[in-house]
Symmetry: C2
Amino acid sequence: MAPARTSPDLSFLLDHTSHVLRTRMTAALAEIGLTTRMHCVLVHALEEERTQIQLAELGDMDKTTMVVTVDALEKAGLAERRPSSTDRRARIIAVTAEGASLAHRSQQIVDQVHEDALASLPADEREVLLRALGRLVTGHLETPAEAPRAARRARQAS
Amino acid sequence: MAPARTSPDLSFLLDHTSHVLRTRMTAALAEIGLTTRMHCVLVHALEEERTQIQLAELGDMDKTTMVVTVDALEKAGLAERRPSSTDRRARIIAVTAEGASLAHRSQQIVDQVHEDALASLPADEREVLLRALGRLVTGHLETPAEAPRAARRARQAS
DNA sequence: TATTGTTATACTCTATAACTATA
DNA sequence: TATAGTTATAGAGTATAACAATA
């Protein structure tokens, strides 16, 4: 969508670049059978022992979305749910050997997709682009505006 | 979602900035009763006589999405469907006086939201940011990667 | 036969609600 | 009472299919 065309259209530029980059990333990771989320969970779960909730927060996902993602990782043999030794409600996500190996490859793919995009820019622009975006992310564009969320009916009895 | 954290994470930077900017834009336009799409259609329809299909292409929307958007504009008294004089299948989207006035205000709002974001950057970074994003949009990140589209069942008879 | 606009609806995605087990 | 994880499903958003009118 191209909202307008008057002033330098920052919305269009950011929407388009992020959308296209995301399709590239999705396609590249799909070649090794991963979604972006699976990659994200694998990488964070490898760093240290983490529960589903912790991984959900790191990846900015809902806990119910995390259930689906971990289901997919387990089904693919890339990770396992293990009981936490300290909290019997919680599950530690343990990455399998195969999962660790794939996470290594997927991180290379992610880096490569980013590099490919950045390599198309002059070195000085590349540097400033990252700095400026970083400034926005930690500054003026840090926090989303409130979106009015619709209330929801109770669930139907089954 | 924060896909990774190794190299400078262009995906995260672009996703986050575009997402937050979009929530700002949505909230700002909602104050005058418009969605981003309604604004987009109004502005393009004001430029010259255009059919729904033409407006859909300009805004990168599906024609069925355009139907809904034009319905909303008509309901709000901001635009009307008029028969094309040259093609009896087509409808020209005519902006009403009220619609034109609101489009003027909405364009100011859009510009202001962009300005607010850009004003938080040093002037030199601002300029390079726009140039670099523009380069990506017309260059390496011009075209989305193909997404495998799921086939769909035929419609149920009603 | 192809295209414009329309309606109906299938599908995806995501999050809410409700529940179980445990803290 | 509150939290981790799960299941079921509501709801938004969007696109496909089919169709009528016209080219």
